[in-house]
């Protein structure tokens, strides 16, 4: 069975890039454009194994979505990779406290993303 990943980013271009990269490595990809839609997608797809999430988004940020996921027992154990243009240590620390497993700074090369996702998937 293909592993399922949820990509949450307000940029269609970034979603297309990540989707194409992870789709080519065997993931089934579903998408959301902000945290609110991301949480709804998780309800629709309870078999998601990995969440790749931007930070800076309208309506609900990636960190707010992460915190909401961790409060919900059905999603609390999901592996989350934050994928963002920001690299401020205080944001990384907040993501760690909230339960994210890795933080990748944009822009990034496709092979870097695959490397990180493979490393995380070992633990999925």
């Amino acid at each position: 069975m293909r592993r399922k990943v949820l990509i949450v980013d307000d940029s269609e271009t970034m979603r297309a890039m990540v989707s194409s990269t992870l789709g080519a490595t065997g993931f089934e990809v579903i998408e959301a454009s902000d945290g609110v839609q991301g949480l709804a997608r998780l309800e629709e797809h309870p078999d998601v194994q990995l969440v790749v999430c931007d930070v800076n988004m309208p309506r609900m940020s990636g960190l707010e979505m992460l915190q909401a996921m961790k409060r919900e027992p059905r999603h609390a154990d999901l592996t989350v990779l934050m994928l963002t243009a920001q690299s401020a240590p205080e944001l990384v620390a907040r993501a760690k406290t909230a339960g994210a497993k890795a933080w990748l700074v944009k822009p990034f090369k496709a092979d870097r993303l695959v490397q990180v996702v493979n490393a995380l998937s070992v633990a999925v």
């Binding site: 269609e12 800076n56 309208p58 243009a85 690299s87 890795a102 990748l104 700074v105 990180v116």
Partner: protein, 177 residues
């Protein structure tokens, strides 16, 4: 004190644009900024904190298309795709500037980006000082306006004005938590 901080901002605004676009495959050369350059696509990000204001990136379809990640995808890039990409570029540029400034102890938060398309767009500074940079690349120009008001209470030790140690950026870095 703010004069030296202004020099620092000028430097980063000039450097960060070409660094970022190079990551996306476009080589830029510096131009003397014109008072009213023409641009048809704009990406905009607002920020607050030790500095507050707005970042505006203005360019055109040819240049934004030339650095679009899906440019070799076999189908033409639509205006929507170009608008989405210039917004993301503004977001990544603001992230790069924020990272540089945080090396100096300055803290800012920024909004999700928006983008605009139009034929006769013009920048009008709202407040603070405008830091400008202009570049020529494949198919056109990129203009950057960084309008920033600096908080009066910022304390800047002498070492503050040294260049950030990480001059090439931390993009692509991964941190396992």
């Amino acid at each position: 004190m703010h004069a030296r901080l202004s020099e620092l901002l000028e430097r980063y605004v000039s450097r960060c644009g070409p660094e970022l676009l190079l990551e996306h495959g476009a080589v830029l050369t510096r131009l003397e900024p014109q008072p009213e350059p023409s641009y048809t696509l704009a990406g905009i990000v607002g920020f607050v904190g030790d500095l507050s204001g707005t970042l505006l990136v203005g360019s055109n379809a040819e240049l934004i298309g030339a650095c679009h990640p899906l440019r070799n995808g076999g189908r033409p890039l639509t205006e929507r795709m170009l608008l989405d990409w210039i917004a993301e570029l503004a977001n990544q540029l603001m992230g790069r500037l924020k990272a540089r400034l945080s090396e100096h102890g300055l803290s800012i938060k920024f909004s999700a980006p928006i983008s605009l398309a139009g034929d006769r767009m013009r920048h009008l500074a709202a407040r603070g000082r405008t830091y400008r940079a202009a570049f020529e690349g494949p198919g056109g120009e990129v203009n950057i306006w960084f309008d920033a008001e600096i908080k009066d209470v910022i304390a800047c030790p002498e070492a503050f004005f040294d260049d950030a140690k990480d001059a090439t950026g931390s993009e692509g870095d991964v941190i396992f938590l």
